[in-house]
Amino acid sequence: MPRRLRIALLLILVSPACVFAAPSFDREVQPFLNTHCVRCHNDEVQEGDFRFDVLSRDVGRKDTPQWAEVMERINSGEMPPEGEADRPTAEQSAQIVEWLAARIREGEAARMAQRGRVTYNRLTREEYVNTVRDLLGVHYDAADPGGLLEDPEWKGFERLGSVLTLSATHIDKYIAAAEVVLNEAYPEQKIAYLEATTNAVDLKPDHPHYDRLAEAGLLDKVRYELVTSGEAFRASNPYRDGLKFPGPGIYEFTYQVSGLKPENGPAPRMQVYEWKLDRILFEQDIVAPEDEPTQVTFRAHFPDVRAPSLHVLNLTGPPRHPRSTAHSRIPFISTRQERAPWQMKITDQQGNPRSPVLIIDSITMRGPIVTAQEQQRRDEYMPRDESTSEGNSEGNIEQVRGGLAALARRAFRRPLAPDELDVYVNIAASELAAGETFAGAMKSAMTAILCSKSFLFLAEGDESRQRHTLTDWEIASRLSYLLWSTMPDDELFALAEQGKLRDRDELRRQAARMLADPRSKRFSESFATQWLHLRKVGMFPPDRGIYPNYDAHLEQSMIQETIEYFHEVLHQDLSLREFLDSDWTMVNPRLARFYGIPNVANDEFQRVALDPKLQRGGILTHASILSLTSDGTRHRPVHRGAWVSEVILGKTPPPPPANVDAIEPNPVDTPKATLRMKLAAHIHDPNCAACHRKIDPLGLAFENFNAIGEWRTHEPTEGTGADPPVDASGAFPDGREFGNADQFKQLLLADLDQFNETFIEKLATYGLRRTMTIDDRDQLEAIAAVARDRDYRLREIVEAFVLSDLFQKR
């Protein structure tokens, strides 16, 4: 390849900033068209009814469908047609395809980033839930059946204003959600806090063992043991014997339990499952000796007034076996107690448990739990003299206005315009006139507020004039939804009111305060999920036959590792380098077992040192990342490469052409071949190879990891002979070679600036809820420069973004 051409290719592939360099159609594209295309597609001859002379040269902004077609035809090798005397080389075609693809993408980004006088960004489902919680102290179960719709995503990002659509169904659901939330905040009958406790087992006098145990003084020593995973403890609702379940709200649960862990096996894993809601409320490994039971406490939301229906399961117990206990009628007291002779022993000769055993003593439930602040807010919106009689209280319209104003101000996250409240007050007034109760009338008006555009959308800009910088109120929301995924708190509102949020020192203080707050975990969770496409983990559940180690707990642990890892980098103010390679990671016992890391006992995520032999440093070799690029059965090197290219290098590879020949299965009677070998045989077409050579190596570096991210040296596959060894070597397009994932990571580290730029672009996309365009380049570079000066430390980067000019602009 001529040296100059090679450099041009490299620039396009490796540097997102360079793609923004002023594109020159005449220099890059016209000569190719002149040589290869125009002869058959001009003003006189139009093969296939296609001519170039009428197409705009403003590629990406004009005539996009036509240019996409041109790209597609060249990319597939269909054009110029075979038999043409002077056909371009695959490299030349690939260069044109990449140029066209980059322009078309820029055009798309510019369209998506377009802003009118007011930008309306709809709250995501997650943001809606958090905001309603802050507003009224009610948790809304948005992901339940009948809840809110899932949000569409663009390259993993779920909060881009241009992508978040709204339909009639959304409105239907917002109305239903508002009604549920308001009914919980303002129940028709007052709901009182109530605590109830029940023992796991209370023998009745007609129980065949009652008398025997009563005589032995053991009646109150009876416990409930869960030895197998096929059995559930169903005695579930503590509100009994005259106690009534109070109603919807947040409840606190306490279980007194023991958990016996076999010496070489996992601890019993306790799961609390709400049967009617079909929801898992709690899951944790339990380790506590029989004679020293522990108490586990957690909170969960109950959406409606039905009595709880809680089941407890021991997930790590062996499968149910007719003789394992088959829960006999003989009440359980202790593993030291004699078992019925036909039952399998829970313990071995030494008295150690043979398998994980979970023992339950009691369950306590208390609630609903409403904090003083939440109650105060609710009362503020619904001012009401408790002494007035129930029912048709006259309802002072000034009271109505005061309450609704308090709600609307916070819900709209800004001061109200004059007369803005009138439509809502009118609802309450007409409801009262129709004979509705004061509370009922207020709730109708509140429902309207919660379904209004000013609540559902984060609006930036004025309808009456162009404005390019944000107001203090808009900054408060942008900051709050960035770091907390929710509405601003009282302090931010107060600062907005005082007009202090455009002051950089104040902003810096606020960013520091907010990052120190536990709610900043939402940023780690939400941003890491969207940037890294974590939502895709488990989209195609791995085949149980091939990956018997895989289960829901592992899947959840994989995702959580990456989130916890991000949070650790953020909170320890570590550098971006840690994302590419590290000597530590975050694991819980389940993941430690999966990775082969010893001595992780506590069931929580904890930072552990990594043995370099494991090759798990950084996030690229997290099980989550390696899984999300696979399809449940096979690992997919091309997808892995495309992911690295997009997420780490900031470069979306050109799309594959349509109509590619299928990869035919490996016949079972031929020698075994790795996917890599089949891929190499498949991509014999130089047109495909030109592009794949740049994408595939970025994924082939991870050949040592299978579709769920397990380490391997050989690839199990169909066919005859021994499983072939994997080959994780490769070379970057510029020729730098690597032998495995670790060496690959070192090469990425050598070019940290590129990752830095990519990361900042992703952060800005998330924070500003729009795609970045050429117009943002200078401001993005300014943030990148600060990041370089601060040794690429994550916290500093987030701060630099918040303090940047870009952050204050619409």
């Binding site: 007011v118 439509v423 109708s444 429902t447 309207a448 209004s452 299928a662 299965p665």
Partner: protein, 458 residues
């Protein structure tokens, strides 16, 4: 057992008693079939459509019917359709040009044919054919359309290209169709009134701002306004139908849908869904139904016949003969359930013949050769609808005129047919256009259609 249909229970007395002052609303359309306005309108038979989706394609090697025209033999997975030969048309060679080679989005565009970005970029769907039908036929029924999914998600997309959520829960579907409104009609009416004033208020508020904004400048706000207005129409419609009692379903029949249901008996579970669809059609609660049978990513295991893998897993068979055998087995199973559905439709009488004659059914997948995501030559079965002018009894094949004959022994060559269209004019949108015409939707095009499929029109 006689179950009164919605159509018959609807008469002027009900309407006048219930409606009061709001009688001027367009709901009077819904009374048309009762003969109230018979003098003004031709009494056409009701026209119904059902769309059924299976994921991940089929084992195309055993599926492919070899002969075109009337004298074709059903292949073994399709054998159960022999008894419906006069009412069914298998079609080979169709595809959606916009999604070729684009992986698992094919379920989202099966009824829309929209363009999916190849790189996972922002995807905006377009309206699905069933919704266009619902706009025309839906005004006669309490529910313009019904979106169901045994597994997975909805096939229906609104005019804004937004997915209309599907209901999975049999009990919930039954309640929605035939259950009493909570609190009785007066309470519901009160609730709907209240909803009306809430919608008015938020519309007012948004309109004020919209007026101040420039016309080119209010994309998202327009979207909001459109959505709220649509909900207003729905609310009005619900209020209008309040006065029309729902058909009473005998307790023994109702119990099947409201009792405990064992989802592990997949065959029974599928048939329960099909029965519920038949019930909804014969009571004229709706005339347009979409239903996804299994999910594209993680559904479709059938323990009944000893298959515990998902269809997605099976479709990535890697050429393993055992996996291929099982895939054929699940194909056979799914077609058998479909045949059962046609049985039921045929057993029930409708105005002009059987319910099968007034109902056209499309059964198929957006994928053909799942292992490599080949989505040309889509498995497609078209059934019923004779009273709508549909003609059946042959295998319509768009491949054979170009390839002479099939060679499924040579897997590679057949897989190629299932990955790249043989006839680029053989578009699934042509069939959808044909079906739209059968439902009186007046349009010359649907997505990238080139014209109706004349072979299936009487």
């Amino acid at each position: 057992m006689p179950i009164p249909t919605q159509r018959m229970t609807l008469n002027r007395r009900h309407v006048l008693r219930g409606l009061g002052a709001s009688i001027a609303l367009p709901m009077l359309e819904c009374m048309q079939p009762s003969g109230l306005f018979a003098a003004e309108r031709p009494t056409a038979p009701p026209k119904r459509s059902v769309f059924l989706y299976i994921p991940n394609g089929v084992n195309t090697l055993t599926w492919q019917i070899q002969q075109a025209g009337k004298d074709f033999e059903f292949t073994s997975p399709l054998a159960s359709l022999e008894r419906h030969r006069a009412h069914v048309t298998p079609i080979s060679g169709l595809h959606h040009p916009n999604v070729l080679g684009k992986h698992h989005n094919c379920d989202k565009v099966w009824l829309t044919g929209a363009d999916v970005p190849r790189d996972g970029g922002a995807f905006r769907n377009t309206v699905s054919a069933d919704q266009l039908m619902a706009e025309v036929q839906g005004k006669y029924t309490r529910f313009p359309s019904l979106e169901l999914a045994i597994e997975g998600h909805s096939l229906a997309w609104s005019r804004d290209g937004i997915q209309i959520p599907a209901e999975h829960n049999v009990k919930a579907i039954f309640q929605r169709l035939f259950g009493e409104e909570q609190g009785g009609a007066d309470v519901v009416r009160r609730r709907l009134d209240r909803r009306g004033s809430i919608l008015d208020a938020v519309l007012d508020d948004a309109r004020r701002v919209n007026a101040a904004l420039g016309a080119a400048d209010r994309n998202k706000l327009d979207e909001y306004l459109t959505a709220v207005r649509q909900v207003e129409v729905r609310t009005d419609r619900a209020a209008e139908w309040l006065s029309v009692p729902k058909p009473e379903i005998p307790a023994s029949e109702a119990a099947r849908y409201t009792g405990t249901i064992d989802k592990t008996l997949v065959g029974e579970y599928h048939r329960l869904f099909y029965d519920l669809m038949v019930l909804a059609l014969r009571t004229d609660m709706t005339r347009v139904i979409t239903c996804m049978i299994c999910s594209e990513s993680n559904g479709g295991a059938i323990p009944d016949i000893g298959i515990s893998q998902t269809r997605h897993g099976l479709s990535h068979h890697n050429g393993d003969p055992e996996q291929l055998r099982r895939l054929t087995q699940t194909d056979t199973f799914l077609v058998e359930q479909f045949s059962y559905f046609l049985d039921q439709l045929q057993q029930h009488e409708d105005v002009n013949g059987s319910l099968l004659d007034t109902t056209q059914v499309l059964w198929g997948s957006g994928m053909a050769y799942g292992h490599s995501h080949g989505n040309a030559n889509l498995p497609t079965l078209y059934a019923g609808g004779k009273a709508l002018g549909v003609k059946h009894g042959q295998h319509v094949d768009f491949n054979l005129p170009h390839i002479d004959k099939y060679d499924v022994e040579n897997a590679g060559s057949h897989y190629r047919i299932c990955s790249r269209p043989v006839d680029s004019n053989a578009r699934l949108s042509n069939l959808l256009l044909t079906m739209l015409h059968r439902m009186d939707v007046e349009t010359e095009h649907f997505q990238d259609s080139l014209g109706a499929v004349s072979e299936v029109v009487a």
